[in-house]
Every structure is written in structure tokens, then in C-alpha cells.
Symmetry: C2
């Protein structure tokens, strides 16, 4: 039980007014040294904890930010959440997370819920480049919003993401060095900005190579398995397979193995994101390292800036990734 102790109780116990007690604890207003320590000690003794709701109501802010992601289960997003959370702890901010399960209306519903002063700002990884647009625009009109990793069309909010062009460039330059002549891309469709960007980047960067017909689905292992099987069914494999992310690559690898094909002997294979998965497959995957910590830091910085000045110029930031080379692309 421990009857909730209010500020009034602390004030009473310390023999001061509630105003003084508040000031003493805040410590940034004029209070005598003596009363300050007295109040602080009393608060400590009574186990006083400020009531977050009351403070939020009065202050108009609650030191909490929201985050909406397609699915925490995806190792990449799990790591993003981890990084964002770590960064927020530095600033004594809380994190409310909501999983949209990649569904547009669920996403919209969650955003609505977060609106009522529940959070000061929101970081969102939109689930669909078009479909998420409406809800995001509505939200952004009310509270600071930054898009992370992916973005929707028609919303000029702050955005932080990896430089997908550069990432794909790194992959293809590396493959060319390995002597690759023919190549194929297995990625995600244009439903997400990331899918679209990587697709276009691949099309551009692969000029001059023998490019096989690409295959597009979504960022999942299941799809990778399917796509891998489809690729094998075509007959001859290209020299290298570039995948839209690690999950797809893992799926493709599984399909190749099931068909008796070996990597890197029969074809080279690359992923994107450099999640834990890339390290544990056999062979380990060459992948593009997302600068997750930097992404998280920048996203929060953008959010804080936006909170301070709603009319500051929009922040559009692309962070350069790096390539990590592993056995899946070591020349046979």
C-alpha cells in the first residue's frame, strides 16, 4: 500500500509551504540552502516520488516519446529500439513503443492514441510509403514527428536514414572487385521507401553487368526462401545475388542449400543491415552495416530540436553505411 505521499505531505513534514517544497526539490529557484536540504531530506525519508501525471498536466509535457515500428521481432528493428532507448536514457526520457505489425490502420490507431499529450514527440518507421501517409501527416501537424529508416510520400517531416545508394554502391563495387559479371537483385517492392531506394540504387549501380531479372517481395525470411527457390528454378545462377536485407539473404541461402547449391562456390551472396543473422549463417554473410547508434542519436536530436522550435527548417539526413566483408563473397 504505502499511501501515496504527495508533495503536500513532504511540505507539512518539513514545516514549509508546498510552494517552497516544490522549489526546493526543483532546486533552480530562490530557496535557502538550509530549507533546500531539509526538504530534500524529508522527501527522501518519506519516499516521495513526483506524480508524473500532475507534472505533465501542469507543464504540458511529460518527458516521454513514442516510437512506432513495423515489428520489434525483426532483429534490425529490435536493435534500433535498443539504440533509441539507450540514447533516451541519457536524456531522462521515457520510451513508449508500439508495434504496427506492418498494418496501416493499426499504425494509425496507435498514433491517435499517442496524440493526447501522451508523448512529446514520436519517432516512426512507417509501414507503407503511401498508406501510412495520411496518419503521419495528421500526427505531424500536432506533435513533433521524425521518420526513421523509412519515409512516406507527401510528408516533409524530419527524416533520418541510412544512405541506401551508398550501401548498394559498396556492395556492387566489392562484387566487381571479386570479378562478378552476372548479378541479380532480390529485394522488397516499392511499398517502403527503403525497398524502392535499394531497388533503384541497384539498377543504377549494376550498369555494365549482366543483370538478371530481379525479384521483389517483402523484407522477410519467408519471402527470401520463396524467391531463392524461384531463382534456382530458372536454371543457371548468376555470379552474385544481392539481397535487400539480411532476412531475405538468409532465406535465399536456405533455398540455395535446399537445392544443393553452395555459397560462395556456386554464387556469391550479400545481405543488408548487418544484423546478428549475418554473422551466424554458414557461410557468414557480407552485409552493409547500418550505423544504428548514429541513426538513433540523430533521430532524437532532430526530435528535440523540433520540440524546441516547430518552425525550424526540416532536417533530412542520410548517414553513410559501411561494408563488412565475410565469407559469402570470398572468391571461390
Amino acid at each position: 500500500m504505502s499511501a501515496e505521499v504527495r508533495l503536500q505531505d513532504v511540505a507539512d513534514a518539513a514545516g514549509v509551504s508546498i510552494a517552497t517544497a516544490s522549489r526546493a526539490l526543483a532546486g533552480k529557484d530562490r530557496v535557502s540552502r538550509k530549507t533546500q536540504t531539509l526538504v530534500k531530506r524529508t522527501a527522501e525519508r518519506l519516499g516521495y516520488q513526483v506524480n508524473a501525471a500532475a507534472r505533465a498536466l501542469r507543464e504540458g509535457s511529460n518527458r516521454t516519446i513514442g516510437m512506432i515500428i513495423p515489428v520489434v521481432g525483426n532483429p534490425f528493428y529490435a536493435q534500433v529500439v535498443h539504440a533509441v532507448e539507450a540514447e533516451l536514457q541519457e536524456q531522462d526520457l521515457e520510451l513508449i513503443i508500439a508495434d504496427s505489425h506492418g498494418e496501416i490502420e493499426r499504425e494509425a490507431r496507435r498514433l491517435d492514441l499517442l496524440l493526447g499529450g501522451r508523448v512529446e514527440g514520436v519517432i516512426v518507421v512507417p509501414s507503407d510509403a503511401q498508406g501510412s501517409s495520411e496518419a503521419l501527416i495528421k500526427t505531424a501537424a500536432r506533435i513533433p514527428l521524425v521518420q526513421l529508416d523509412r519515409r512516406v510520400e507527401g510528408l516533409a517531416s524530419d527524416f533520418i536514414g541510412v544512405d541506401n545508394d551508398r550501401g548498394i554502391d559498396l556492395v556492387i563495387a566489392h562484387l566487381r572487385e571479386q570479378g562478378v559479371r552476372s548479378i541479380v537483385y532480390i529485394g522488397a517492392n516499392d511499398n517502403t521507401s527503403v525497398g524502392r531506394e535499394r531497388r533503384l540504387a541497384f539498377a543504377r549501380a549494376s550498369a555494365g553487368l549482366d543483370v538478371h531479372e530481379p525479384i521483389f517481395g517483402n523484407f522477410s525470411r519467408e519471402y527470401g526462401l520463396e524467391a531463392g527457390a524461384a531463382l534456382v528454378a530458372r536454371g543457371e545462377l548468376p555470379d552474385a545475388i544481392v539481397c535487400g536485407d539480411d532476412l531475405i539473404a538468409v532465406g535465399v541461402l536456405g533455398a540455395l542449400r535446399a537445392a544443393g547449391k553452395r555459397v560462395p562456390r556456386d554464387t556469391l551472396l550479400t545481405g543488408f543491415d548487418d544484423t546478428l543473422l549475418a554473422e551466424i549463417t554458414d557461410p557468414p554473410l557480407t552485409s552493409v552495416v547500418q550505423p544504428i547508434a548514429a541513426l538513433a542519436r540523430e533521430a532524437i536530436r532532430a526530435l528535440v530540436l523540433r520540440t524546441e522550435d516547430r518552425d525550424a527548417p526540416t532536417f533530412y539526413s542520410r548517414i553513410a553505411p559501411q561494408l563488412v566483408v565475410r565469407e559469402s563473397t570470398s572468391r571461390p
Copy 2:
């Protein structure tokens, strides 16, 4: 931007008092059909959103629960978060998550922050069986708390976890069927209840087999690599290696591969948790499937019950896992 619209504004626009407006929206008190729809429509038109802080202050609750876990980056916990979040959505509850990074004082600090009425209850996966005890006891005295997956010593709070005994039993029974004679356990130390339980379960269930000296560290791939190398260095491998979780198993597998040993040819290998990892290694790992959805559901149910009645008898629940057999234990 879009001047916050208050309930008063809706009331004014609808030409009723603020009390009536509130009742109309709540819909559970006596209001005429006509005013009710009028108010609702007006609220809709003005884009009214109740202010969460004000409501929380008044109601004394905020429909938010907190969750503290050792590390979201761990695929198993990422899935747990996903399941808990999905379950909470059903009940229109929000989820605040905090990552303790496995550090005791960080965990304590986060719990303190959550205390001030910020959440109605908290689900925690304690980072240390002894070290986390104090902070958890303090928290449990103030708000409903349920321990998930792991528990600390000296706190009789509600608890939901997998039946580790049964899980290990399933693994060993299966290995015996495969004709295993000699066996070793590579798991985590007693710092967590899970580590301890699995260790003891193994010791009990392996009776009658040729049990090699076990190796204990923590639940991580890095440790698995290390332990695997140490095992190889001993010279001869046992017929089977039972690991404390998938991460360790993945590490051990890597170490075996580096040493030129093959699974299941040279030894059988098992994991625990059945995360995505178990499916994508080569060979895929036999593992114990955690009933994650059930765990999440039960945890929330316990929390809700506890919220309704602080003095209800303590809930201690063990959910039975299942075994999923994959190639890592298919008899050579």
C-alpha cells in the same frame, strides 16, 4: 499549430456544459441520445483528443504499463516484447519499455522513474537473481509487479515463466532416443533464475549418462564461442552438447566449425528458446519452443488481476514448452 482543443471547446461548440460533454463522450452515464451524438460529432469535427495527463491525474491511472528487460537486442526478448505489446493492444494499454542492459543500477533507476504514477503496473525480467532483488521489492510495494521469465530471490510477486525442468527433460529424453551416451552442458551461471534452473534440471535429467564437466557463463553468442573453443580444447567431444539457450548454441556451433568439427556428425547440439536463430544456422538447431504468446498473455492477465485486487493470492505459473527437432540432432 492546431491550437490544442480542450473538452471545454467541444462543450462550447456543442452548446452544452463541460460535464455533459464529458458524459456524452464517456457514454456510460445518463445523457440524451440527441446530445450524445451531437457532442460526439462536434468532438470529431474539432479533432478533439482527451488529454492523457489530465485524465490520468483525475483517474489515478493512465492505462500504461511498463516493461523492463535485460536487452531488447536479444532475439528472444525482442519476441517477448512483441508478444506483450500485441496483447496490450487488445486491451488498449500502452507499453513503456526500458532496457536495463543487464545492469542492476540502471534497472533500479528505471524502476524508480516508472514509479511516479507513470505506469499502472510493471512487467520485469530481472537482470540478476540477487542484485535486482532490492529494487524489485521496493517497486512491488508500490505498484503491481509481475516477473516474467526470470525471478529474483526474496520476492513473492506474481511470476510467469516457462517450465525449464520440462524443457530440459524434453531435450535429454530426445537425445537418449538418439542413442547419446556422453553429454555436456554449456549454460549460464546462477546469476539468473533461468540459468540456475536449467543447470539443475540438466544435472537431474542427465543421470545415468556419461556427463562431462559443464561450462557456465552467460547467455550470449560471444560466451558460446568461448565455451565451444574450450570444449574443443579438451580433446574428445561428447555425443551431445546441450546449450542453455540458442545464442550460446550458435556460438558453440561457430567454435566447432572453426575447429573443423561438424554437427551432427561429430556431436549433436541443442539450443533453448527456439528463436529465429535456431532456424537459420547450418544445420538448423533442435531447440525448446518457448510459448511466448502464452507467457505474454498470462503475464498481463496476472498484472490486471493484481491491479484489481492487491491482496489476491500470488500467482506462480509455469508454462510447458515443446521440443522442436531439427537436423542438429538427427542421428548421423
